[in-house]
Symmetry: C2
Subunit: 421 residues, 2 copies
């Protein structure tokens, strides 16, 4: 009988994420906030009626891949290239400042004696590691929020997307540097080579796929099921290779796959199909699963104080770091602030890094609670802040629309309802 | 690293089912045949590169639920009611004749001494049990094939749908009768009461949901994401309740849920969305998973002979039983034959029944091989035979289309591409 429990889980997730999404929408907040809260409320943190099964975890992973694939599909590659240098500066400063901030506050608390650290590793190394946890931006929440409020195709939106992708890579490098300081079996040179290798691989494969795919579409004369399936297979394979062969996050692979498909003439057709897949099944599971991960450990007064300060440092250091980067690249004050806000969310990436640190002995038991709190707080704050902050940002009008209708892709219906959530 | 293997599995499933589907299409067979073969070829029966993980099994279950939900959505309820009596006759004869046929041939082989039976249970009871395995029709393959060739909305198509639903219920009754003969803890009366209870429950809940849903749609003025999600939640809940509280197959619940949604004014909108969900992700997984289940046990000469005869009996007894039932209800000869063919497929239902029998000591080790062969053969034969046999059957034109456009459901795009697989 219990073998059918996943049907009930799925029904609960779909119902609660939509219901809470509509409630948060009524309060002028993005629906993503509601979906996240649905997971927190149903999960072990509150009611405990849902827990993260392996089915939910795996489908959530497919969900975030599809989400980032859609983000890639909707990105204007030319615009992204334009802000490439700016993204790099934003990402670098957005890694360095939170890193220093996190390390400093942790070092102060440990050397102070307020919090007990792990006796086996040096205090400095442990402090640096907490800093690393604060570097990783989780872009998925921001992307979905910007899509929902129709601000993904803006100058700031593009800068955030670009910076988050680079940030992901920088995060891996930072993690590698610190773990290699604790464990001599990890070599920084090899990690850097693998990351470089991934981008070469992705661009070469993407380009070959793009050429063949475009030829195939032109030959088929109209958009068909098989084209959407082929695009999905390409996305899954790049994601898989990124994670398994190159140690890069799968969602980075999915995003790049989306970028290549976005250059084909059936971009709108494919986007419409994946949009359905995303909102009707996969996205709700992904957002709920993040909420389900929240399990607050029991904490002492000192740890709670540290947690609150860490959350503040996490938020402010990203706003300052990324905002400063944006400002240096001649974005306006308002845009720099928007970009900073968009990069606050840490999400699941920070949890993964923390787990790795715990395994390597770099993160004591006392620090898991604060890290979870940082993830929860930044994840929920980001979409709440994004909506008011992005008011007035101009959407970039694409001039490719005319060319896209060459191939008869009947998507009007889907596109038409995409905003009616 | 292996925790990302499911991405590769998914890519393999999507690629192989579509590729083989297109190949079988070129040979004028339905694409479903290719999708099934993809699972057999990649699975343990041939190459062994894929095996059925719990993720694949669960997503396949969601897939067959969505498949039957879509079948319900596309069914014309008035037409289904019209052929209700006929469906009952077809189902009853379609259970009795294969039951007798299967039991007779098994009894002959055992009493002959050709095949060794389980010493603990009586030969008669074991023979009767093999008969029960042959009663269960697996309608999903037939439904998908008929949808694919555009013949689901035909007189014969409706008769098959109705008969298969009743057949499912009769199968449960037959299974209960036999297992209660071996095990006194199972009471037939309670099982019958539960089945009756399910239909009362489903109709009452469905009616209430339908009324509220229709009111909500009219109020919303246009079809929205939330409507599709609500429909999905309803489908999942009915499926779950069917299986867990009433012991009826979840797909029966999903089909009934689809019937209720098909009476609302956004039927086409919902169908278009679930169509995408189905072809882009869930259906390929379902069909591949059936193929993955095929694992041929080692068999002796006598067992192989028995298998072949059992397959022949399985095919012919369904054609005769259901065809005779249809003929009695004044279908034409051609239509009766079509209905008989449509009911041949046994699919996963037979495997589930066989597993229950093995656990109850009613099915010896020698019989698992033949049962698997019956399932594989009937599942692959059905879609191959259906296409030529259904040539010339007239599609029922619905006169509800005009009323359906009341609510502005923009689905033209999706519907337009539904046939271009």
């Amino acid at each position: 009988m219990d073998s059918y429990g996943f049907l009930l889980d799925l029904a609960l997730i779909l119902l609660s994420t939509k219901l809470l999404g509509l409630i948060t929408k009524r309060f002028r907040m993005p629906q993503v906030v509601g979906a996240l809260l649905a997971g927190v409320i149903l999960g072990p943190a509150c009611l405990g009626v849902l827990k993260e099964t392996s089915l939910i975890a795996d489908m959530a992973e497919i969900g975030v891949i599809v989400l980032m694939f859609c983000a890639g599909l909707e990105t204007d590659v030319k615009e992204l290239k334009k802000c490439g240098k700016a993204s790099l500066v934003i990402a670098v400063l957005g890694v360095i400042i939170p890193w220093i901030g996190g390390a400093a506050v942790t070092y102060a608390f440990i050397s102070n004696g307020t919090i007990e650290s792990n006796a086996e590793a040096s205090v400095l190394l442990q402090s640096i590691f907490v800093g690393v946890i604060l570097t990783a931006t989780s872009v998925s929440i921001t992307v979905e929020t910007l899509r929902e409020i129709g601000k993904l195709k803006t100058e700031s939106g593009n800068a955030i997307l670009g910076a988050a992708i680079i940030d992901d890579v920088l995060g891996i490098i930072a993690l590698t540097i610190v773990t290699s300081m604790a464990d001599t079996s990890v070599s920084i040179a090899i990690v850097l080579l693998k990351i470089l290798g991934f981008f070469v691989f992705a661009i070469v494969c993407g380009f070959i796929f793009f050429k063949l795919y475009q030829m195939w579409i032109v030959q088929s004369k109209k958009a068909m099921h098989r084209h959407a399936i082929a695009a999905f297979v390409f996305c899954l394979l790049v994601s898989y290779c990124a994670e398994v062969f190159f140690g890069v996050a799968d969602i980075t692979g999915a995003f790049i796959a989306g970028l290549f498909i976005s250059c084909t003439s059936i971009k709108q057709f494919v986007t419409a199909k994946f949009d359905v897949l995303s909102y009707l099944l996969l996205s709700p599971i992904f957002f709920a699963s993040i909420g389900l991960k929240v399990e607050l450990p029991t904490m002492t007064g000192a740890v709670i104080a540290f947690s609150v300060i860490l959350v503040v440092v996490a938020v402010i250091s990203k706003i300052i770091g990324c905002g400063l980067g944006a400002k240096l690249c001649r974005y306006t004050n308002k845009q720099s602030f928007r970009i900073g806000i968009g990069m606050i969310s840490r999400g699941e990436v920070a949890l993964i890094v923390a787990n790795k640190g715990e395994a390597a002995g770099l993160l004591g038991d006392n620090f898991m609670g604060p890290v979870v709190l940082v993830v929860v707080a930044t994840t929920i704050i980001t979409p709440i802040l994004l909506k008011p902050v992005f008011k007035g940002e101009a959407v970039i009008e694409s001039n490719e629309e005319a060319a896209e209708t060459e191939v008869n892709a009947p998507v009007a219906g889907d596109i038409g309802t995409a905003e009616s959530k």
